[in-house]
């Protein structure tokens, strides 16, 4: 038995050493995305690469926004500036509570915001948030917060990508990368974190049935709330305008309770009534320019009132 245990231990150690070498080696040699369980894509839909680099040149702000595409497509720093407020949008693609926490841990101190606006929606507590986790670990930096987030996804692709991202960041292998502000699909990154969509396809979204709440997402959310409050910033949770497809009313009461318990919760989901047409929306969840202007005005008004 001892020989067996010793052999197993030796083999496990060997595998622990060789496995990362092979993951990194194969990923370096074969960079085609979708080959194997490494998803290393600099840039990505949400322009997080540009946004993170933008944080180093942006001065402290009045308002810091975090959240998913509802945030980075929904809140424009230029509109805030017109009203005398400086704002940075720290949204990322499909961001769940776990990635929101990592981004806040990494960047909150730079901005010293007076108010943190957490753009919420019920899906921020759904599942592991793999898409967003990959985005954050590749386009932001790898540290213990990122590692915890990746491990909690319980997904091998996230673990391998974490390993590879850590290696590349350690050796500064992506220093040359420069993300185009104008993406292939016409999206334009606006300094300050906003992503502008010039054209809308006006696809309607089917009614969302929100999945079960993941415990680790709720825990990440609570840690984020505590972290923001500890920084001295005021916390405002905002559900942005959406069409009937994705109203928070269809979320579980447990989710709403999390938001209301965390701080001031502003439900703006019904700001445009039940309209699901092209007047305010690009699709079921995202606003067009008119919708962004109107919802930003409403939020700025609320911020000033508070």
């Amino acid at each position: 038995m001892r020989t067996f245990l010793r052999t197993v231990l030796r083999f496990a150690l060997l595998a622990l050493v060789v496995y990362p070498v092979l993951v990194i080696g194969i990923s370096m040699a074969y960079k085609h995305d979708g080959f194997g369980n490494v998803h290393y894509v600099l840039g990505y839909h949400g322009h997080l690469w540009s946004r993170v680099r933008d944080t180093s040149v942006t001065a402290p702000v009045d308002v810091l926004v975090v959240g998913s595409s509802l945030a980075y497509r929904g809140y424009d720093p230029r509109l805030f500036a017109e009203q005398g407020l400086t704002m940075f949008n720290l949204g990322s693609s499909a961001q769940t509570a776990a990635q929101g926490e990592v981004l806040l841990r990494h960047h909150l101190h730079r901005f010293q915001p007076g108010t943190v606006v957490m753009v919420v929606s019920p899906d921020m507590f759904e599942g592991p948030g793999i898409e967003s986790a990959l985005d954050v670990m590749v386009n932001d930096r790898v540290d213990l917060f990122t590692a915890r987030m990746a491990l909690l996804t319980m997904n091998v692709k996230a673990w391998n990508t974490l390993l590879y991202a850590w290696f590349r960041q350690m050796l500064h292998l992506d220093g040359h990368f420069d993300e185009a502000y104008l993406a292939y699909n016409g999206d334009r990154y606006i300094p300050g974190g906003y992503v502008e969509r010039p054209t809308c396809d006006h696809r309607s979204s089917p009614a969302r049935v929100f999945g079960p709440v993941a415990d680790h997402q709720v825990e990440a959310f609570r840690r984020s709330v505590a972290f923001v409050k500890a920084s001295g910033a005021r916390l405002l949770l905002v559900h942005p305008p959406v069409t009937d497809c994705c109203r928070p009313s269809s979320a579980s009461p447990e989710v709403i309770r999390e938001w209301t318990d965390a701080g001031t919760y502003l439900d703006m989901s019904g700001l445009f009534g039940s309209a699901a047409d092209s007047t305010f929306f690009c699709d079921g969840r995202h606003l067009n320019r008119t919708g962004v202007a109107r919802s930003n005005a409403a939020l700025i008004h609320a911020l000033k009132q508070e």
């Binding site: 038995m1 067996f4 052999t7 194997g36 091998v156």
Partner: protein, 479 residues
């Protein structure tokens, strides 16, 4: 608890350590530990059905004792009928009741009777088809006097519920497993290492081969009308790879795990896709089920003795029952029927036991005749798998119709080629190891340790790097 879950990765080392730490005291204590671990393993799925498992165990244990104790043949038969009736009754209610009720309702409507069938909508208890067959084999064997009944309910409980085989087999025989349960086990280094090797290969088959094929297969079978003939054909071939990787992978993990605990379970697969005819295929595919039906049904029906009509009848019964065992759907019956049709010619010509050896035994490559036979057998099997995989008969017919169209001669449309390349590589390794119990058993064992370990590390890497990142349940769990 899935074999490929982190839960099992934590559960098994604890059981392994506790189990072997007891070895010097008593195998009885080991049995108690394994039974408790098995019930815990089962309860992780759904603790409500644990009671059903325990009831089934107690029923068969008591029946076995009563059958043995009763001198009267009539009384023995009565106890046997009781046990078989209750076991099949439970299986029937959970697995088949809704199917028959729905079919009856539809039939009644067709003949103008407005019957609204009562459907139970019960969840199928995991592993019920497997542990029911374990229990039945035991009472049959006791009734025939092949084995003595087990008095110790823990030993019997472990025979039925041993966690490596509890939810998807292999379907064990009392005469094979019970003597191992009722004797001390000693730890043997070679056997344990062999068990680890078999587990490793099983995980590769399941996580890399089967799970990567699954999304492609699902996409193709979801809408046959939207696919070209060549894509549909590729879908059938990929499903053949998926179900083999999935089920034989599961069996490898089960056998490897059991070996780590000092048990040898029945072999379930013997490289079935290298068969030269359907009879050989059925000696190599899901062996524990095929041999169960052979021993407890086919032979009692007369087997291949008697008139031609009897042979045909028995063959159809055995394959149709086997198909229906998989689930309450006409697709499984058609699958069974097709295999009966495939099997009959060799049975009637008396060539069904022609290929008892391994193809190209002692040679690296097969000759052209063997290649032709293997390909023909494989394609027949794939054709039958279309019915097995399809949701219903019209979908299966649409799939078959789509294959036999002009678009068969176009390039298949698949979103990813990596799974195809991995499947091809996998079949090469399987070919190289076809004369062993599992492909990795002797492969590289003559190499120096560094070479052998390099191969295993590459397999570990391949699992981590190429496994499908989502969770796909084992196909046979639904049966």
């Amino acid at each position: 608890m899935l074999f490929d879950s982190l839960g099992f990765a934590a559960f098994f080392p604890v059981v392994f350590a506790a189990y072997w730490s007891l070895s010097s005291r008593s195998y009885k204590a080991q049995n108690v530990l394994l039974l408790a671990a098995s019930y815990f393993f089962y309860a992780c799925w759904d603790e409500r059905f644990l009671l059903l498992l325990i009831f089934s165990t107690l029923l068969d244990h008591t029946s076995g004792l009563l059958i043995h104790r009763t001198p009267s043949k009539v009384a023995k038969l009565r106890w046997l009928y009781l046990s078989v009736g209750v076991n099949l009754g439970i299986l029937g209610v959970f697995k088949y009741y809704d199917f028959f009720a729905r079919e009856f309702g539809e039939l009644a409507e067709r003949i103008g009777l407005g019957v609204d069938p009562v459907l139970l909508g019960l969840v199928l208890p995991i592993g019920i088809s497997f542990y029911t067959f374990h229990g039945l084999s035991y009472v049959f064997d006791v009734y025939r006097g092949r084995i003595e009944p087990v008095r110790d309910v823990v030993d019997y409980g472990l025979f039925v519920s041993f966690f490596p085989l509890l939810v998807a087999g292999p379907i064990e025989r009392a005469a094979h497993l019970l003597p191992q349960i009722r004797a001390p086990r000693t730890f043997r280094y070679e056997r344990a290492v062999d068990g680890l090797r078999q587990c490793l290969w099983g995980f590769f088959k399941k996580l890399v081969i089967a799970d990567n094929s699954a999304p492609l297969v699902d996409g193709i079978f979801a809408d046959p009308a939207a696919q070209t003939g060549s894509t549909l054909l590729l879908g059938a071939v990929l499903f053949a790879v998926q179900i083999y990787g999935d089920f034989s992978g599961y069996s490898d993990i089960a056998l490897g795990t059991a070996r780590l605990l000092g048990f040898e379970l029945l072999r379930n697969f013997a490289f079935p896709y290298f068969s030269r005819d359907i009879a050989e295929f059925w000696r190599r595919w899901h062996i524990s089920l095929s041999s169960w039906f052979r021993d407890y049904l086919y032979i009692h029906l007369g087997g291949s003795r008697g008139s031609t009509w009897m042979k045909v009848r028995n063959t159809f019964i055995i394959f149709l029952v086997s198909g229906f065992w998989h689930g309450a759907n006409w697709t499984f019956l058609v699958w069974g029927g097709l295999n009966a049709v495939y099997f009959l010619p060799s049975l009637l010509r008396g060539t069904n036991r022609m290929h008892l050896d391994t193809v190209a035994q002692g040679r690296l490559l097969p000759d052209l005749r063997e290649v032709g036979r293997m390909l023909a057998t494989f394609m027949l099997t794939c054709f039958a798998w279309i019915f097995f995989r399809s949701d219903d008969i019209p979908s299966a017919m649409a799939h078959v119709g789509g294959i036999f169209s002009a678009s068969l001669f176009t390039w298949p449309q698949v979103p990813k080629v990596t799974p195809l390349a991995l499947a091809a590589l996998f079949m090469v390794v399987e070919w190289l190891g076809r004369e062993q119990r599992f492909a990795l058993e002797r492969l590289a064992t003559s190499w120096p340790r560094w070479g052998r370990w390099s191969l295993y590390v590459v397999i570990v890497f391949a699992i981590g790097f190429f496994m499908y990142p989502g969770e796909i349940p084992f196909i046979y769990f639904q049966f």
